[in-house]
Amino acid sequence: MKLRSSFQARIACVLIALLLIVIGAVFFAVKAATGDAVHRQAQAQLEVGTRVFEGLLDIRGRRLRDAVQLLSADFGFRDAVSSADSATIRSVLLNHGARVNASDMFLLGMDGKVIASTVEQIPEGSQFRYDQALRDLKRSNQSMLIVPLQGKPHLLVESTVLAPLPIGRVVMGFSMDTAFAQELRTLSGLEVSFAAVENKTPGALISTQPDSLYPSLTELMMDSSKGQMRMTEHMSQRFLSQSLLLADTGGSSGGQVIALLQSPLDQAMQAFAPLDEKIFWITLAALFASLIGTLLLARSVSLPVRALAVAATRIGEGDYETPVVLERSDELGVLAVAINSMQSGIAQREQQLAHNALHDGLTGLPNRALAMERLGSAIAAERPVALLYLGIDNFRAINDTCGAEGVDQMLQQVGQRLQASLRPGDTVARLVANEFLLLLEHSDSDSAVAMADKLQQMLIKPQRVVNHDVTLDCCFGIAVYPADGNAPQELLKRAAIARQDATHLPGRLQIYEQGRDLAHQRQISLIRDLRHAASNGELMLHYQPKLDIRQGRVRQAEALLRWQHPQFGSVSPAEFIILAERTGSIQILTNWVIEESMRQVAEWSQRGLRVQVSVNISADDLLSGDLADRVSSLLKQYRVPAEQLIFEITESAVMREPEHALKVLNRLRDCGISLSVDDFGTGYSSLAHLKRLPVQELKIDQSFVRNLDETSEDAVIVRSTIEMSHNLGLKVVAEGVEYQHSLLLLERWNCDTAQGYLISRPLTAAAFEAWMAKPLTTPGLLVS
């Protein structure tokens, strides 16, 4: 888990970011508030200071005026002034001016002319520059005038000299010097600067500020915007500044006196520096503490989460045993409990699923998969195992009788009985509906046969199922490891083959024979291909001539089916006919045979060859019901006379459902088709039955004919059969005639027809046609 993406890191980041935002906001809010407070305070200080400054100036002016007035009332002074001697007057001005610390003194006449002056620049006899301003001042009852004088700001105070009538005005000037500025600073708490401006040129600056700031202060004072409070900066020191225009005499000389009052901000700000520092340390401490706190918090969440994730992964991998241990009472603890209960639930269900997957739902027995697994493990351990494949052959019949419910009950009972009869370590499994498999450990084929026999005895006893007594028809196939194979699937298949083979055996028990699986494979292929043999043109008919013994000529032939399989080549009818009958595809073959033989007969007829052809009909054909209809329509189609066809039927075919078969036979007979009983003598031949059949011919099975001689038992059977048949009005055909003497005997016993290799083997249609064209060459017949 990367640190950057982990939950823990994200919680920490979010919390710290939030904290930083909050602290930042607090810091800036405090900063802004203190800055604002300082600014406000400075502003208030400046405002108050400005008023104090103005008040101080006024007080100072009054005090000076009072002093000057007092001075001007001095009798000696008045005496001197009224003497009109300018030297005397100047000396008394200097003398009395010194008493009140005045720097410049003037005596003006009532008309404003300078009578006496201590300043050279203002000569006696000239009009005093500020005469009008002084008069205005007096009119507005103010005490003093501030003017630039000799490049310096001055306070001018005037007093009238009474003698006792006004005879002159004494004007005294007080220089506004650094000491004055310092005094104002002490009282107002503001930095005070003065400058006199004459002819738009600033004079020397008088200030409480350090000298280094003078140029920028002067610049600020010369700035046109007066009377406004402004934030100014001088040599990186910040001040709240206010300029006051103390005097503006206007005119061409443009004399002005400007005062600059400043409240230093940095100093006030300095008071808040400890606060900033405290906030900084608090921030640092809070950050550190929250970092630790969030890490602990995140850890307390992320560690259990990881433990839970590990547990979930473990459960995913199938480990349901290890519980999650989380000693917590919070949501994560609840989650851990939930995971534990989920784990046990999953384990339980998985067990159930596994059981279901490996067991049969109905009987509770192991299923095929489990049986295969156990077989596999036995093979892996090289333990000899016998497979006993059990099939219930009359399953369908039981189903019809007892219904699905009964079948289920029966199967359960069978399962229980099988289970009960097993040794420990052996397995009984249900494979499909009616098939069970038993695995007998440490068994060879002999003990397996013994076991099968025992089970056979047990299962053959009738059992009560849903008010029915059911007798099971079971058959067993046995395959043995290691003798019959060493792969589970192979062994199972071979056991199944053996079981299938067993169905045809009276003992209902078969041990697998080597190579049976190949034969079985061939059978399966043949069964599969049989259905398409006719349409693929793989079928053909061979014709075996039937000799009319009495007349010594051939007018009949038996159509015999031949199959040229693309893979296996020529397949014997003995092999595929049985398969066809067993798989229900015999009708396809029979239909083809009937149609083909008709076609051939018709073809031969056109060429003048008149042959009566006999065709083999199976039991299934007889029972299908529509045989007669099909035949009659085919007869019409090929325009073949019915007399030219003989249908050969075995006795057993008729015996399966005699009534139905008889009906079909009668209808066929009605069509005009001759009927023949085939293979007579092999089945349970019944004369009474034979009498009822609408047959015209009887074929003695070749097994009686092949080795026929005068003295054999067969001779008796053949001879009596011929006689019996003739007595019943039936013609007799002898099959399998291979020897001349046999033919001679048959002739002597008045057998009607002979068929066999002596006369000819089965021939293709073309060969048969050619054979018929040749004269008959049979020696015996020729002799006779």
Partner: protein, 209 residues
């Protein structure tokens, strides 16, 4: 029955300002037919209730004027006027020597310890002169009939300079004449007498009981 010497006429002048209101303290001097000289004339400028009484005193050149003090406090009377610069040190009662005013002109009197005290002595060479009373009336008796040149002065006259008041004949039966004198508004440059304060009254009473 009237001898030429004893022949005399009465001249009555009514002084008004430019607004036609009767004006007091106007000095009117007449220069006319020759008359007998006045020998060693004397006059008093009294100080009463911290005021000069009379406020305006017209005298002939060469008059000896005494400055009696009728107050129970001391005064220090002075004048820086060119016709007569003098200073009488703090005194009570009447100073020993009267002062001789031998030059014509206006002498403004002050008291060095009472700045609001102001008095005028108009010194003239003319033989006939008088000061108008509170009704602006001025009467000169025993004038020989004849032709007269009149000059007028008032403390509030412009530049404090006497102005000609015209020429006229005074018949033997006397003459009544009205004169208009332009005066300036009261100057505010003069200190006013301090209002008596409660403390001052109490102090004064305590001092005199």
């Amino acid at each position: 029955m009237f001898s030429p010497v004893s022949q005399a006429a009465t001249f009555t002048a009514a002084m008004v300002d430019q607004n036609g209101k009767p004006l007091n303290d106007v000095v009117l001097t007449l220069k006319g037919p020759p008359s007998k000289p006045v020998l060693a004339p004397k006059a008093d400028m009294d100080q009463r209730d911290k005021e000069f009484v009379p406020h305006v005193l017209a005298v002939h050149t060469g008059t000896l004027i005494r400055f009696p003090n009728s107050d129970n406090i001391r005064h220090q009377v002075y004048s820086f006027s060119a016709p007569k610069r003098f200073e009488l040190r703090l005194y009570e009662g009447t100073p020993s020597d009267p002062l001789l005013f031998d030059k014509p002109g206006v002498v403004v009197l002050g008291c060095n310890i009472h700045d609001w005290m102001l008095g005028y002595i108009f010194v003239t060479d003319d033989p006939w002169f008088g000061v108008s009373d509170d009704n602006g009336k001025l009467t000169l008796n025993d004038l020989p009939p004849g032709h007269y040149v009149a000059t007028a002065w008032h403390p509030k006259i412009a530049d404090m300079q006497p102005v000609p008041a015209g020429e006229f004949d005074v018949p033997a039966g006397g003459l009544q004449k009205s004169f208009t004198v332009a005066v300036q508004a009261t100057s505010n440059q003069m200190p006013m007498a301090p209002a008596p304060s409660a403390f001052g009254d109490a102090f004064h009473k305590a001092a005199h009981e």
